[in-house]
């Protein structure tokens, strides 16, 4: 039977009329999974300063994170997910930089901070809207001594045909900042920031072994967007980090999944972003999901990231050159980073154990097109995690 022949007109009409009757999920993603509970422990440890001259303690940031996650069905058509996170942060971070000999910047780090905590909780409810559509609502709240953030989001997916799914949604976030030691360091006492975000995406089932997703996200932020703990050297003085009170960003994301064989799949993601502060970035991510005998999975991966500096970034500023905005925050500077990770997973009946490690290295030398300014604060870190999941069904 030659299946490549185009269907006869009669058959096409029959197929079209029958297509509405048995809707098919375009990709298994939306299938509600069995109830489960999971725990993760993450350790994030930045490398001590090396190479660039530094004043202040050279030990950088360290974060221990614990995460608890619960997924379950509520009635026949809803899936609830609740996630709780607790972090303990310690260590020093870049404060400002000053010009040294040959105009090479000298990084000044804040003294090691006392331990700070962050707690966050989020919940989302996914509703099966019929016809293979889903609607998901989410809320989240994050609190630390000086920062509180509340967010809500809503998204919807619709299958356009058996191979194509449309997704879109939006979210709002309201953040309140009350910096610590505000009087001592003459920081702002109280500020807020609002973020509005919208996205649209299309996902394709290309063939029985691969899927592709492409999406666009737009963000608009307004309010206090500067970092109250950072200073910028302008001429002889250190002035507070001053950034515009709004920022618009657009990002384009592409994700590809390819089943190489029954036991291996390749994941490749790319993301291109631009924002109104002059920053441009490209992210490239690839991982291999390899299943091994005995219910083991091993997942090696690499990630490349490059960003262009914001218009008002410099390690230090000439008093005459500086405009109304100035920041020496390394996260606004130009740099590139390379990261590699290796994860392991093992199933024991209803239990699943997972562990992994990531090594991340950022430097101006890796920036695509070269970084146009020094970035002494570019960071390198190691991340290790371990986790346990239990599936109820």
């Amino acid at each position: 039977m030659n299946t490549n022949k185009r269907p006869s007109p009669s058959l096409s009409l029959l197929l079209a009329a029958s297509a509405a009757l048995v809707g098919h999920k375009a990709h298994a993603e939306e299938t509600s999974t069995a109830p489960s509970i999971g725990y993760r422990f993450n350790v994030y440890d930045e490398d001590a300063f090396s190479g660039a001259p530094v004043i202040g303690s050279d030990k950088r940031y360290h974060v221990d994170t614990q995460q608890l996650d619960f997924s379950g069905n509520v009635g026949e058509r809803n899936t609830l997910n609740v996630d709780a996170t607790h972090e303990v942060m310690s260590g020093s971070s870049p404060w400002y930089s000053i010009p040294g000999p040959n105009n090479k910047p000298i990084q000044v780090l804040s003294g090691a901070t006392i331990r700070d905590h962050r707690s966050a909780i989020s919940a989302s409810l996914m509703h099966d809207a019929g016809g293979n559509s889903t609607t998901t609502g989410s809320v989240s709240y994050s609190a630390e001594r000086d920062y509180h953030a509340t967010a809500i989001g809503l998204e919807h997916t619709i299958p356009l045909n058996t191979a194509l799914t449309l997704g879109f949604g939006g979210s709002l976030s309201h953040d309140v900042i009350e910096p610590t030691d505000a009087e001592i360091f003459d920081r702002i006492r109280h500020a807020q920031k609002n973020t509005y975000s919208a996205f649209g995406s299309l996902s394709w089932v290309l063939n029985r072994a691969s899927v592709l997703e492409s999406g666009i996200q737009l963000n608009y932020q307004s309010g206090y967007l500067s970092d109250p703990y950072k200073l910028a050297t302008v001429g002889e003085a250190q002035l507070p980090d001053t950034r515009p009170d709004r920022r618009t960003e657009a990002a384009w994301l592409v994700r590809y999944r390819l089943a190489i064989n029954d036991n291996a799949a390749l994941h490749a993601d790319s993301r291109v972003a631009v924002n109104s502060w002059g920053q441009k970035s490209v992210t490239l991510d690839a991982s291999l999901y390899q299943t091994l005998p005995g219910d083991w999975q091993i997942i090696p991966g690499v990630r490349y990231y490059t960003q262009h500096s914001a218009r008002f970034y410099a390690p230090f500023f000439d008093a005459n050159d500086a405009g109304s905005f100035y920041s020496s925050d390394y996260r606004l500077g130009g740099f590139g980073s390379v990261a590699g990770h290796l994860d392991l997973r093992k199933q024991f009946g209803r239990w699943e154990f997972t562990a992994g490690m990531e090594r991340y290295h950022a430097t101006t030398r890796y920036a695509l097109g070269g970084a146009n300014a020094a970035n002494p604060g570019a960071v390198s870190y190691t991340r290790i995690f371990a986790g346990l999941d239990y599936h109820f069904d």
Partner: protein, 290 residues
């Protein structure tokens, strides 16, 4: 694993492979629930089914999405077959069930048969003639097979077949990628398979007269009735079709039976679907590889 059950008046089975007990049981539960749901909704043997309610009502009713889709599909079939496939012919098919009716009864039944006697404008159905009998018989079992196969896939079954009285929907090929081998029943020979074929895709449906044919005065009357004349068709003894869904396969096989041997055979060839036809003398034609 093979689970056998009975529904819609016929012996059924669910075959699943390569899954744990709990998934298999969930698949069976989903299948039984879905078949029961569709039987309650569309059976024309029940007074309390949705279909019975619809045909009794003299007002316009807005139907749900699933029913609307079935009506749209039936409308398309009615159009493509020039009125041969007619879900309003319930009274007529009931007449010929087990006996030969008198011409007066046939005429009376004809007066309440006909797609032109209902108004279907999605989502509104208006049954304007009293005593009509709507019959989804040529659609529900096949649609149920497709739905059950999809539900089994949703709970995680990747290899299996849903068998509702000979109407089959594929859940997925064997774990090694090979197609399931299924049998097509031989007409007029109890329990024997006329042919075994590989089912690589979708669904297989068989329309045949072997179970319910009448013999009167030495002449064989199938239970498939031409809704325009009121009399049974003289055609194939059975037609089996393989298509991307059991529903399309079932519609194609029913239509081929209604069209009679010559027009039916020609139409199946034009449609381009693999098919197997067995005529009154047991002669086999068609292009399914046995």
């Amino acid at each position: 694993m093979r689970f056998e059950f009975s529904t819609m008046g016929c012996p059924c089975a669910l075959h699943v492979e390569d899954v744990g007990d709990d998934v298999a049981r969930r698949a069976l539960a989903a299948t039984l629930a879905e078949v029961d749901r569709l039987d309650r909704k569309y059976s024309h043997y029940r007074d309390d089914s949705l279909l019975a309610t619809l045909q009794r009502s003299s007002e316009s009713i807005d139907v749900d999405d699933e029913t609307a889709n079935l009506f749209d599909f039936a409308a398309e079939l009615n159009r493509q077959s020039d009125g041969l496939f007619d879900i309003t012919a319930g009274k007529l098919t009931r007449l010929w069930d087990g006996r030969k009716p008198a011409q007066k009864e046939i005429d009376a039944a004809l007066r309440v048969t006909g797609w032109h006697r209902i108004e279907w404008n999605r989502p509104t159905l208006h049954v304007t003639t009293r005593n009509m009998h709507l019959d989804f018989g040529g659609l529900v079992k096949e649609y149920a097979a497709d739905r059950c196969a999809e539900l089994c896939r949703e709970v995680g079954v990747q290899s299996g077949v849903v068998d509702l009285g000979g109407d089959l929907a594929l859940i997925g090929p064997h774990a090694n990628g090979e197609a399931w081998i299924v049998g097509i029943k031989a007409p007029r020979a109890e329990g024997k398979a006329a042919a075994s074929i590989a089912l690589p895709r979708g669904g297989l449906a068989t329309s045949g007269d072997y179970e319910r044919a009448l013999i009167i005065d030495g002449k064989r009357y199938s239970h498939i009735v031409d809704p325009r004349s009121g009399w049974p068709i003289e055609g194939f003894a059975s037609v089996s079709v393989v298509a991307d869904s059991c529903l399309v396969a079932g519609s194609a096989s029913t239509l081929a039976m209604l069209l009679g041997i010559e027009r039916g055979g020609a139409w199946l060839r034009e449609l381009g679907l693999p098919h197997l036809c067995i005529d009154g003398e047991g002669r086999i034609s068609g292009d399914i590889k046995i």
